[in-house]
């Protein structure tokens, strides 16, 4: 192994291993093999299969406790499971919780209702969240980044693509909205609704996923007041949105009812520190509490 002139894999598999930061010679040693295959590298990259049959935790004779049945999981669910497991195993993630005042966004959305009806486009709160996130990423470039293999460099992305996690009958999908910094409110609204519809119908192409700046996981339409989204590697952050509700907010002299949306930002602590995350969220909140600031 690791003998000069003898490599443990073919050129394409060596390139694949490099991409995943894996040393093929070390992997060959670890596997006690003279040669490393594509599947060896992929398995290593994913940190092993999440529901590996060899894993004792899941190797249980359920029947002894009562009746039940095994139903297959979808391929989407299996792929998502591998990514989620890799994220939990490899990323020291922290979730920062904050609240965003949405009253100004709501009154702005009302003013767009008529024009939206004419255009056949509904401007949801999510559209404004995408715009605020894009704007905030511009101010905080280390959130629009990925760690390089080996962890010695951070790859800063010079584009703004936002992944939108979509709950579909066949599993979780994260299609990506490309170039959100170059798009206006109508374009984003139009694309968000089309992407969601196509995701529901399983019409998302492989090239429409992956490579995002960061992602949004929106549970606002369902409920909850906080959660801990899992960072989608190789991204370094994900923004979770919960259901907005009216809360009493002290304005200095009295409590007033304000529409508050809870946000939960999970981030890779290797790339981002806590104070930065808090500032990120505060800036984000300031943009949405007065959407005119999105123009600045």
């Amino acid at each position: 192994m690791a003998l000069k002139g003898i490599s443990a894999a073919t050129p394409s598999i060596r390139a694949l291993a490099r991409k995943h930061g894996i040393d093929v010679d070390e992997l060959a040693l670890e596997l006690e093999q003279g040669f490393v295959s594509e599947s060896d590298v992929l398995l290593k990259a994913k940190g092993g299969s999440p529901v590996s049959p060899s894993s004792g935790y899941w190797d249980v004779d359920h029947g002894q406790f009562g009746p039940g049945e095994a139903v297959p999981t979808t391929r989407f669910a299996q792929l998502a499971a591998a990514n989620l497991t890799a994220s939990q195993q490899h990323i020291p993630a922290v979730t920062h919780h904050d609240k965003v005042g949405m009253d100004a966004v709501e009154s702005f959305r009302k003013t767009l209702a008529d024009e939206g009806a004419k255009r056949g486009i509904k401007v949801t709160a999510l559209v404004l969240h995408v715009m605020a996130l894009t704007k905030t990423l511009r101010k905080f470039p280390t959130f629009n980044a990925s760690l390089m293999p080996g962890g010695k460099e951070l790859w800063l992305k010079h584009y703004y693509d936002i992944g939108i996690a979509v709950d579909t009958p066949h599993g979780l999908m994260v299609p990506v909205l490309r170039g959100t910094n170059r798009k206006g409110i109508w374009d984003i609204a139009n694309e968000v609704s089309k992407l969601a519809k196509r995701a529901q119908n399983r019409k998302i192409k492989p090239e429409e996923m992956g490579g995002a700046s960061t992602s949004i996981s929106n549970l606002g339409g369902i409920g909850g007041h906080a959660f801990s989204p899992i960072v989608n590697p190789p991204e370094v952050a994900i923004l979770g949105l919960s259901r907005a509700s009216y809360e009493p907010v002290w304005n200095g002299t009295k409590f007033e009812p304000r529409l508050m949306c809870p946000i939960s930002l999970s981030y890779d602590h290797r790339a981002i520190n806590g104070a930065e995350a808090a500032r990120f969220c505060a800036h984000y909140a300031s943009l949405l509490s007065d959407p005119r600031r999105l123009l600045l």
């Binding site: 003998l3 002139g5 003898i6 050129p11 003279g34 790859w155």
Partner: protein
């Protein structure tokens, strides 16, 4: 980018430089390619690989025409017209450089004719026909190549004393020609000039010609060069050079202790990286001895956003290595994962016969204590070789005994450079000697010699 702001700048338009430029353009970068020559392609296309191969083709045709008597074919004494040959060679070169120009245009690569030096870590100063200008770059790739080493203490400005560039200009066929340096370039020049009638003497300092090549194959080539009428002195150095209007005298020492009287000399003692001509220190870059700019496996230099590829990064100075590096530099600087992840870089001497090798050769395996075996097949037993001129030939395979994997190969014989490709792939793919033996090679071909050598190792050969 507007004005003199450049996104991706490549200095040098040789095989490494244009590969970097074109790949970067394909990856969406806005590319500026700077080279002092009015044509693209660098030394390789303009005064190296390509013109030398054109002359070698002509030399082979000329030589073979005289070797067909025993086949009952006699062309009479062939006539040489150097002017026509030069035109033909130059046409080939301009076809290729013109093609590159089209490829650059297609990719919207802007080409700047001029010489660049570093002003600081983000700026280049470019001297061009339009005057001096300053360019601010985001990424720069140094691909300035190398130049022939000039022997010190030799007379300067004597047109009879040439480097490889001068030799390829083919101004005349000297009656007596000395070639100092028996490396690939020297041997190729010896092949050309001896075919056209020069009385060639090769003077080599080391104990074998084609330093680094397989010892056994190099010996066969040595013999072949002598059969072409060349005199080869190994272990010999030139101590003194004296010129008169009529002759050049080379006083030699070592294995050949004598004075050689010749009409012209080609210096072919190696090439020197051009890292020293860039004012690279202004960018905080260290230029190492012999003008080398060191890079890591991703072609990164010690300065951020400065990459280097090709000859300027040191040995082996080969165009195909430069091209591979050029693409890596473009990809890495554009955020892609790429790595120069191999030691297997084929080398080819376009001599008569050709000689080509790659990977770990027997003498290297021995020096590195690698548990290996050698398996070889002489071409005297190849039907295809016997029916096409019966030139000397040998296919040698080196394999790692415990794993049976091929680790090196050396071939001498017609089309050795082409035949080697199969073995380079075999090494990269981790093929064993059994894989080669069990792969069906067409009969009768020269490629069979590879299968035969592998079968000899496996003990299954019935052709030897």
């Amino acid at each position: 980018m507007s004005g003199n702001e450049c996104d991706f700048v490549v200095i040098g338009a040789g095989p490494g430089g244009y590969a970097a430029a074109f790949r970067a353009a394909d990856l969406g970068r806005s590319v500026t390619l700077i080279d002092p020559r009015p044509t693209l392609g660098g030394v390789c296309l303009n005064e190296g690989c390509i013109p030398s191969k054109a002359l070698l083709h002509a030399a082979e045709a000329y030589r073979s025409a005289g070797e067909l008597d025993e086949w009952g074919i006699n062309f009479g004494k062939p006539k040489l017209d150097l002017a026509t040959m030069r035109t033909k060679k130059n046409t080939i070169v301009s076809n290729l450089t013109g093609g590159l120009k089209q490829l650059a245009k297609k990719r919207k690569v802007s080409v700047l004719v001029g010489s660049a030096t570093f002003k600081d870590a983000n700026h280049l100063s470019v001297d061009s026909t339009d005057g001096q200008q300053t360019i601010r770059f985001k990424t720069v790739v140094i691909a300035t190549g190398s130049r022939p080493v000039v022997l010190s203490g030799w007379p300067e400005d004597d047109p009879r004393i040439m480097d490889s560039t001068g030799a390829l200009a083919l101004t005349e066929i000297p009656k007596r020609l000395a070639i100092v340096g028996g490396g690939i370039i020297g041997l190729e020049m010896a092949t050309v000039y001896s075919a056209f009638g020069s009385d060639v003497t090769i003077i080599e300092m080391a104990e074998q010609i084609a330093a680094g090549a397989d010892i056994k194959c190099a010996k066969l080539l040595h013999k072949a060069m002598e059969n072409h009428g060349c005199t080869v002195h190994c272990n010999t150095r030139v101590e003194r050079v004296e010129t008169t209007a009529k002759t050049i005298s080379l006083t030699c020492s070592g294995a050949f202790e004598n004075t050689l009287e010749v009409d012209a000399v080609i210096q072919a003692v190696g090439r020197r990286p051009n890292g020293d001509l860039l004012k690279a220190e202004n960018a905080g870059l260290q230029v190492h001895a012999q003008g080398v700019i060191k890079v890591d496996g991703q072609c990164k230099t010690s300065a951020a956003n400065v990459f280097a590829v090709g000859d300027v990064t040191g040995a082996p100075m080969l165009a195909h290595r430069a091209t591979h590096q050029g693409k890596i530099a473009a990809e890495v600087s554009s955020g892609h994962s790429a790595f120069f992840d191999t030691d297997i870089i084929p080398a080819v001497a376009y001599t008569d016969p050709e000689m080509a090798w790659a990977g770990t050769l027997p003498h290297q395996a021995k020096a590195q204590n690698i548990d290996h075996q050698i398996s070889e097949f002489p071409w005297a037993a190849s039907g295809r070789n016997l029916t096409s001129g019966a030139k000397p030939g040998l296919t040698r395979l080196v394999w790692h005994r415990p794993s049976k994997r091929l680790i090196g190969a050396s071939i001498i014989g017609a089309h050795a450079g082409e035949l080697l490709a199969e073995l380079v792939l075999a090494i990269e793919m981790g093929a064993t000697i059994d894989d080669l033996a069990l792969t069906i090679h067409a009969h009768p071909t020269l490629s069979e010699t590879t299968a035969f050598a592998a079968e000899l190792a496996a003990g299954t050969c019935t052709d030897f």
